[in-house]
């Protein structure tokens, strides 16, 4: 009976640790124009797959936004400035900082 109980307790502890500890990472987005000047007031939305649910949003301040403490995994981001829009997929790894530089002066974006 004691053996069974200790097995049960160990299982609960292990499973709680496994389910409770998912890694987290940070995402920083920098938005600039063709001359590399930072652009303010640009909307950056962070979504779960296929934009079905927004998780966070921010507007750029000095051309930057930061989403800290994101669960590791794949996200979508939508960047909107009046008259311009970009969408991209981004992977967040545990314990890592991800930087994305977006040039709103062209049709491309760089990571």
């Amino acid at each position: 009976m004691k053996k069974k109980l200790s097995l049960l307790i160990s299982l609960i502890i292990i499973l709680t640790i496994i389910t409770g500890c998912s890694g987290r990472g940070n995402l920083k987005v920098i938005v600039h124009d063709q001359q590399q000047n930072p652009i303010n007031d640009v909307y950056v939305g962070l979504y779960k797959s296929d934009f079905d649910q927004r998780i966070r949003f921010a507007y750029t301040h000095h051309g930057e936004i930061e989403f800290a403490g994101l669960e590791s995994g794949v996200y979508w981001i939508r960047i909107i400035s009046p008259g311009q829009q970009r969408e991209m997929k981004v992977k967040i790894d545990s314990q890592k900082n991800k930087y994305i530089k977006v040039n709103l002066g062209t049709n491309g974006g760089g990571v």
Partner: protein, 367 residues
């Protein structure tokens, strides 16, 4: 061999238990759909649909359709339908998946369209707030927990306990929605009525009607009052919600109007005014006293106060961006005249559209 199998079963159930405990289900599950269908069939078989006069049927269909088209925006996965069942009890219930049952006893008691709309909106509130799924989740966790306990205790399963469908159905039939769920449904109904073009005061009318009737109607028939206590408390908080709605319509109807209130608060150094422009999520995290201690805001307030002493301060507002229910507004402060060379400082504010109009979520921060 049997002991090994049992360990495997316990491990599997533990994993399921932990997963269920950590996942919050938002959409309507297949189980809820099945359960609602079963529940509906049971009621229609037991009592049948009430025969309504064509005139009454037409007006209740119209009210339902007006409200459903708004509520669908909040919960597109629900299949909103309503049935008036031939039962004299004064009751109405949301049975999941958007299905609403109104008992004929209550339907006949309603005095006007506002009360009917309020009743339907309240029941839709239970659907949109996912109240049925919450009950299913809790029941499932209890059932699995009971199975693990059985196995761990003596290694034998009590077969009566492991039929979750039986347990859940019985529990759902017996248990009513709890008070916080009723409160959320009341609040949602006031907002939904407003959005759909109905008078939100219909909720108060409905609650007052139930209060009046609780003294004169056979209490056995008054199921709705038995399961929804504290009518006075409900009338008070719904009245408060409606009052806030009306104030919000005047003050916070756009990102610019809310930012104007914030700018006025900063210039007049009125913390209460500033605090009132912030979103509910901020109010949940900070009381007015804690909010006043926020360092960043204090710095901004001090800065504006210093500028006010030094200059003849004027301000203008600019909507810089507005996307998916969010907005960025800038407050530009000038000395004397609105000319670029007279600009003293500018602040960025992030807003979100909520129940009470546009509210500040972040900022102000200096550009």
């Amino acid at each position: 061999m049997i002991a090994f199998k049992r360990k495997k079963v316990i491990t599997f159930l533990l994993i399921t238990f932990l997963i269920l405990g950590s996942i919050s289900v938002q959409a309507v599950s297949d189980y809820e759909k099945k359960l609602s269908k079963k529940y509906l069939e049971h009621y229609l078989e037991e009592y049948g649909k009430a025969k309504l006069k064509p005139k009454n049927k037409k007006r209740s269909d119209k009210i339902f359709s007006d409200l459903a088209s708004e509520a669908e925006k909040d919960a597109s996965d629900l299949d909103f339908k309503y049935y008036v069942i031939d039962n004299p009890a004064i009751n109405a219930v949301n049975i999941g998946n958007g299905y609403i049952l109104i008992y004929k006893g209550l339907f006949k008691l309603l005095e006007n369209d506002q009360q009917l709309a309020a009743l339907i909106a309240h029941e839709m509130g239970h659907g949109v707030n996912n109240d049925m799924q919450e009950k299913i989740d809790i029941n499932q966790k209890i059932q699995i927990g009971a199975v693990i306990f059985d196995l761990a205790q003596d290694g034998k399963l009590n077969k009566d306990k492991i039929n979750p469908a039986v347990g859940i159905t019985v529990n759902l039939l017996v248990k009513k929605y709890d008070r916080s769920q009723e409160r959320e449904a009341d609040i949602y109904s006031a907002h939904l009525l407003d959005r759909a073009g109905y008078d939100p005061r219909g909720v108060i009318g409905l609650l007052r009607l139930l209060k009046r009737k609780s003294g004169s109607v056979n209490l056995e028939l008054l199921e709705l009052v038995k399961s929804h206590p504290n009518l006075d408390t409900r009338i008070n908080y719904v009245a408060d919600v409606i009052k806030r709605q009306k104030e919000a319509e005047k003050l916070y109807y756009s990102p610019i109007s809310t930012t104007r209130q914030l700018a006025k608060g900063l210039l007049q150094n009125k913390d209460k005014k500033i605090y009132s422009t912030y979103a509910e999520i901020i109010h949940k995290n900070f009381t007015m006293a804690e909010f006043k201690e926020k360092e960043k805001l204090k710095k901004i307030e001090d800065k504006v106060a210093r500028l006010k002493e030094k200059y003849n301060l004027k301000y203008t507002l600019e909507l810089r961006n507005q996307v998916e229910g969010t907005a960025r507004v800038a407050i530009l402060f000038y000395n004397n005249e609105f000319a670029p060379q007279n600009k003293v400082t500018s602040l960025a504010i992030d807003l979100v559209k909520g129940k009470y109009g546009w509210k500040v979520l972040r900022g102000p921060q200096t550009y």
